[in-house]
Amino acid sequence: MVTTVDTAPLLEMSGIRKSFPGVQALSDVSLRLHRGEVLALMGENGAGKSTLIKTLGGAHQPESGTIVIDGSPVDLSSPMAAIAAGIGVIYQEFNLIPALTAWENIFLGREQTGLFVDRSTERQRAAALFERLGVDVPLDIPSRQLSIAQQQLVEIAKALSQDVRILVMDEPSAALTPQEVDKLFAIIRELRSQGIGIVYISHRLDEIFEIADTITVLRDGQHAGDAPTSEMTRQQLIELMVGRSIENEFPKHPAEIGDSRLVISGLCRGSTVKNVSFDVRRGEVLGLTGLVGAGRTDVVRLIFGADTRDGGQITLDGKALNIRSPRDAIRAGVCLLTEDRKSQGLVLCRSVRENFGLPSVRHLSAFGVMQQRQERTAFSAFVDSLSIRIPHQEQPARNLSGGNQQKVVLAKWLQVNAKVLIFDEPTRGIDVGAKHEIYQLMNDLTAQGKSIIMISSELPEVLGMSDRILVMHEGRISGEISDVPTTTQEELIKLAIN
């Protein structure tokens, strides 16, 4: 053996530039990935991570810059070209056909055909792929019946079936439970040992320090820095991403907690919510946690009138509410920030201003006519106070980054001036800076005497921001924690898995 170390990178991107109308998304970005390495691509929303990986996936063409794989330059002019170059990208939104089975999805577009599709060979190859991953995924049911984690495994298997050498994963852990994340990491380590280079994007800093070998940070479309994970502290990473220093990740300022405000009793719906009773007090942040599928979202959707409840009473400030639709709930002073902002929170093709005004048209109109000046002024105030980055109020919501979209949704609910705000995963897929701003906002709201119910899967967040925590398991409340500061993550997990 010679002493030449394997320093020739597997992937080298340099001088990548890309702009969109009105936005310089990437300017002179470079990235270097070696064989058998996990690279964490970090940055706030709008920093250019998505654009960069779409460039790798062949969905965007850069205006300048070179991409070299294994020493030879490649032209990633289409998704097909990227696959041919050995790059697999697993986007946050999966590309599975819901009606097809796992193995049909894996070989979609590359069916092994003689005269007919060779089903048995395909099925066997799919089974072999899952075996290689060391997981068990039902092969013969439609993908829509698979859990999020299983769907993700199908995506990974699909990439492996295309002989990828570089696997890009955009927020793969966002929708997974802690156990599922552990399994995912085991798979990533296995792939790494097979020499595959992995680009991993996540907003959860804990994960980065657990799985990544090196970190590359983008800020405002530029290369902000990179280093081996071992040489970077959490604090340094946050500062690189945000561009300024942040002292406290969870800036909780407890407000004065008053009387019981929203009282829920005997809430139930089918097998998803079973006899749930609790209350929220004035000025309180009530954390609601548990595994995905434990019924947390189902409970708040019943309170908000998004689904019909089989039974149960809802009382607000001593008055029984008859909530039968979200419209009723909003009028009564209860609002729900949904976990999926793209499909439930925003009308993507309409302007951010229209989205903002939608739930509060009653206050922003006179005799059925919208008072657009009033609406514009009200929104401007939120644009400033929440530092929403938009070029224009008429900008369609779809053109915004995730963090800015979430802030528009927040602004829309703040304008309603509700008494009880329900936040379902308010910081999912949002960068550190924006998270911090949302936490500050929660402090402001509770200081005004408002009540917040916060659903979150991120245990540090639940422990860091809640005054009281409810844990759910299989549609029931399995535990209540009043003394939050002395509680550990392990205790929460124990309650969640019962």
Binding site: P21, I330, S343, V361, R376
Partner: protein, 442 residues
């Protein structure tokens, strides 16, 4: 942070691109139909009078001759005034056919006048009757030089195009709203027939046929529109309560409404209508056809409703993302029912205008209207995916289609070729929309 200029420009191009297309079409057809027009109208009248005074002085005797069209009337009036102002004796004016002119000239000669000149429009000067009189002869005709002017841009033709477009455009208002909610309404063509027949039957049976008074006639129109609004409510209820796709619901309504119209009328065209019934569809106000005035008024109202009111905001939100709209407190089902009701009612109104124009309630009215109306909406830039579109875009779209049809008619393009062109235009409009979308998607 609030207003930035570049976006404004882009929005301008997006919003007014179709207007530009329409203007280009108008300019193109104007050039293509440029031809020598027969000189008539008030300008020609003045020119003719001036020439006669120049040739014969102020002592002559003149007969003024023209045809029957509105510009001919203006020619007669203007020429007579100008001649008399110049001191010339106008022995007679004739607006009519060659035979009328012959009789008048005969009478004037019999009365003992000698005719020094005949002031005629370009067409009237070509008549052969003058040579029958020894003392007259066609060489005494004076007419203005023919002007070069596009047939397409003649005021009668422009009003004609507007008048023909009006019915489609009125129905297309409702269709635009429906399509913005990501729906479709295939029943509008049949509802045109249903409204026409229901109104005619009401006037015939409840009123007194041709002797029906204004009150009962208006009641009849309300019945026609009301029946169609009910059909719209039915469509909306099927879609929102039972979850039947709009395509299927309105396809069924298209069949049912047509059948109902045929049964109600016993498959006959109902003619027993009062003469005043033709006012809304056949008459003019200040020279503008009433359907055009109705169309402009309705578009003004619809524009304000869609761009300024809570209801308009709700319609766009429902089409853009019904679930997000519902979770934002929008009464989604109610909005959808109202939209289909409005669409039905406007189709009913279109049916009454059409019946009024033709003076009869015919169960065969409005055949295939739904396709022309949908084409106008799509050409006008409304997305079939919902959530996007503009009311005035639809008006422009309706006019683009009407202008192309009319221009091709004037150029004597055959009906089959016209269909091919119109199909291509619809495809092109959607293609432009698709490309635009791809260009702006980040």
């Amino acid at each position: 942070m609030n207003d930035s200029k570049p976006l404004r420009w882009k929005a301008l191009a997006n919003d007014y691109g179709m207007v530009l297309v329409l203007l280009i079409l108008i300019a193109a057809f104007s050039v293509l139909t440029l031809e020598r027009q027969s000189s008539t109208g008030s300008d020609a009248g003045r020119v003719v009078a001036r020439n006669i005074i120049a040739a014969h002085g102020t002592s002559g005797t003149v007969v003024v001759v023209a045809g029957l069209k509105p510009p001919d009337e203006r020619f007669l009036r203007e020429a007579k005034e100008a001649l008399e102002a110049g001191g010339v004796t106008v022995a007679a004016i004739v607006g009519g056919k060659p035979a009328d002119a012959r009789r008048t000239i005969e009478r004037v000669l019999l009365e003992g006048h000698s005719i020094d000149a005949i002031a005629a429009t370009g067409d009237a000067a070509k008549w052969s009757i003058y040579d029958r009189f020894e003392s007259v002869g066609s060489n005494k005709c004076v007419s203005a030089a023919p002007a070069l002017w596009p047939t397409f841009a003649k005021s009668e033709n422009v009003l004609n195009v507007a008048n023909q477009t009006a019915i489609y455009a009125i129905i297309a208002i409702g269709m635009t709203m429906v399509i913005i909610t990501a729906g479709i309404d295939l029943s509008v063509g049949s509802l045109v027939a249903l409204a026409a027949v229901a109104t005619a039957v009401f006037i015939r049976d409840v009123g007194e046929g041709t002797q029906t008074g204004t009150g009962l006639m208006i009641a009849g129109c309300c019945v026609g529109i009301g029946v169609c609004a009910l059909a719209g409510i039915f469509n909306g209820a099927m879609i929102t309560r039972l979850g039947i796709p709009p395509f299927i619901t309105t396809l069924a309504m298209m069949l049912m409404a047509r059948g109902l119209a045929r049964r109600l009328s016993n498959e006959l065209s109902i003619q027993a209508l009062p003469a005043s019934f033709t006012w809304i569809g056949g008459d003019t106000t200040f020279g503008i056809p009433n359907p055009v005035i109705l169309m402009i008024t309705l578009y003004g109202i619809a524009h304000i409703v869609m761009s300024r009111t809570v209801f308009g905001r709700y319609v766009y939100a429902v089409g853009g993302n019904a679930e997000a709209a519902r979770l934002s407190g929008v009464p989604v089902k109610r909005v959808i029912v109202i939209v289909y009701t409005l669409c039905g009612a406007l189709a009913g109104l279109g049916g009454i205008v059409q019946a009024s124009k033709l003076g009869s309630g015919d169960p065969k009215l409005g055949l295939m209207f739904e396709l022309d109306v949908i084409a106008a909406v799509v050409v006008g830039g409304t997305s079939l995916m919902g959530g996007e579109g503009r009311i005035f875009g639809t008006l422009i779209g309706a006019f683009i289609i009407a202008v192309i049809k009319n221009g091709m008619n004037l150029m004597k393009v055959g009906a089959p070729e016209q269909q091919i062109v119109l199909g291509a235009v619809v495809l092109l409009a959607v293609l432009v929309d698709t490309l635009k979308r791809r260009g702006t998607a980040l």
